[in-house]
């Protein structure tokens, strides 16, 4: 017999899409977690938000940007004190932000008011571009002529694609990731933060051919060993390591991040062979859904 309990129980079978949409309304889940948005919303988000799923705009900046006084290099880095806090926009919190400490690296860029919107295509990759991959619709229909604003390749590591790509891909999460950012995002004095990965071997260069300043480093995040008694499971300690190459063009106001887990030589080769072009659009801070005063530059 139908009663209030059976009706309540029936709610457990509500469609995933409706559950996710309501969870977003409640702030339990970020909209970026929705996988079935229509294409126009996806494109808008891809343009405005990139892969910044976790942390976006900031309300207040607690440090001053002084790094560009010398004007020699367009990316400035500093390792913040572990206690230094950054107020990062966070819709779900009572105050609308959360205070983050223990950031591993602060990267600051020139505070340009406008950025040229760019797109790129890889001139060289350590793998062939797949025409089609099971369970990976983003790959379908792309070719060597496709231009990107974001390029991610984690689907090459998925189990369905075992055997199509090198065995080593099974053990990693992201072979190569390429993303574009705009300095206009940081117009109010914000910065890109590495929240989790501790940087090593930071180097600065200038590549004349691409007309960019280049910052490279290795990032490592350590996970302690732990037990999960409920599952009678022991997890050994492990590290997640990435290499990063940031290309910065101060005159045009854009940044490209190339990173991945295939080693610095490979990441550099991908970066060196990028073909970059402007779309003709100019972006200001107002064009971004979130005012990225601080963003998580790490792969998360």
């Amino acid at each position: 017999m139908l009663n209030r309990n059976s009706l309540f129980d029936a709610m457990s079978g509500i469609s995933d899409d409706y559950l996710a949409s309501a969870a977003v309304l409640l702030g339990d889940m970020k909209e970026d977690n929705l996988m079935h948005l229509d294409s126009s919303r996806k494109q808008a988000r891809a343009r405005k938000a990139g892969r910044i799923l976790l942390i976006a705009a900031v309300l207040v900046c607690l440090f001053t940007v002084t790094a560009f006084a010398a004007g020699l290099f367009s990316i400035s880095t500093r390792v913040p004190d572990a206690k230094e806090t950054f107020q990062i926009h966070w819709d779900d919190s009572e105050n609308g932000y959360l205070e983050w400490s223990d950031a591993k690296l602060v990267l600051t860029f020139p505070a340009v008011a406008e950025s040229r919107e760019i797109e790129f295509r890889p001139g060289w990759l350590p793998f062939e571009l797949p025409e089609e991959l099971p369970g990976s619709s983003p790959w379908n229909g792309i070719s060597e002529d496709t231009w990107f604003r974001r390029f991610a390749s984690e689907s090459l590591c998925w189990a369905e694609n075992a055997g199509r790509y090198p065995e080593e891909y099974k053990e990693i999460g992201q072979p190569i990731l390429i993303e574009t950012y705009s300095m206009a995002q940081f117009h109010d004095g914000g910065a890109m933060l590495m929240l989790y990965q501790t940087p090593e071997n930071i180097t600065e260069e200038h590549w004349d051919e691409l007309g960019v300043d280049v910052l490279s480093f290795h990032g490592k995040q350590h996970f302690d060993e732990r037990d999960i008694p409920e599952m009678d499971l022991h997890i050994d300690a492990y590290d997640i390591e990435y290499d990063y190459v940031l290309l910065s063009n101060e005159e045009k106001g854009w940044i490209i991040e190339v990173c991945g887990q295939l080693g610095m030589d490979t990441v550099r080769k991908v970066a060196e062979n990028l073909e970059i072009r402007e779309t003709g659009n100019t972006l200001t801070q107002a064009d971004f859904q979130n005012k990225y005063l601080f963003i998580d530059g790490g792969v998360g």
């Binding site: 309540f8 029936a10 998925w158």
Partner: protein, 185 residues
């Protein structure tokens, strides 16, 4: 890490799947549990129980939308825990109000011989939801799946508490009519 990458870790039986899931969706699952259980301790235990389910289910299961799938697991675990708690005369809160409101959708003339199959009812609820406006649907699901309070709905939608109650009441009446038309009550 995106959901497909996390699901891949489960398929590969990598323990990191658990840490990644907890890091990304721990808060979501806690909120789902806490609205029902109204107890931090119980909710944390419920969330811990949740993590076992994807580990056991994936593979072969392939969640279409992983956070929604986790929400459903957490909610079911929370309801089970709540029913145990009710037996011990504790717990409850918002969920009792939610159940009372749902009782309004079932008119007094229910045929006691009519045993409604759970799947049939679920499908009817989904068809009903498909006919609601998106914000009304979100509010309905937020209230009757997630057990969100009227105040929380008000804060999230920009409606007054009174309007939230009114919108939900209209939706309940529509559901009652719909279930009648479908011959389910």
């Amino acid at each position: 890490m995106d959901d497909e990458a996390i699901l891949n870790l489960y398929r590969l039986r990598q323990a990191a799947a658990l840490t990644e899931t907890e890091a990304k969706y721990g808060r979501l699952c806690f909120c789902v549990a806490d609205r029902i259980l109204n107890s931090r301790e119980d909710s944390e235990e419920c969330v811990n129980d949740t993590w076992l389910h994807p580990w056991n289910a994936i593979p072969p299961e392939k969640p279409k939308l992983f956070p929604a799938w986790l929400s459903r697991v957490t909610r079911n675990l929370a309801i089970s825990r709540l029913r145990e708690a009710h037996a011990a005369k504790r717990g409850g809160a918002e969920i009792d109000l939610v159940l009372d409101e749902l009782a309004e959708c079932i008119p007094g003339g229910t045929d006691p011989q009519r045993v409604v199959e759970a799947n049939e009812l679920t499908e009817a609820v989904n068809r009903f939801l498909a006919g609601l406006k998106p914000l009304e649907r979100d509010a309905f699901v937020a209230r009757y799946f997630y057990a969100a309070s009227h105040a929380e709905l008000s804060a999230r939608t920009g409606w007054t508490v009174g309007k939230a109650k009114t919108v939900l009441r209209r939706s309940r009446l529509k559901l009652q009519t719909y279930l009648k038309e479908e011959g389910l009550c």
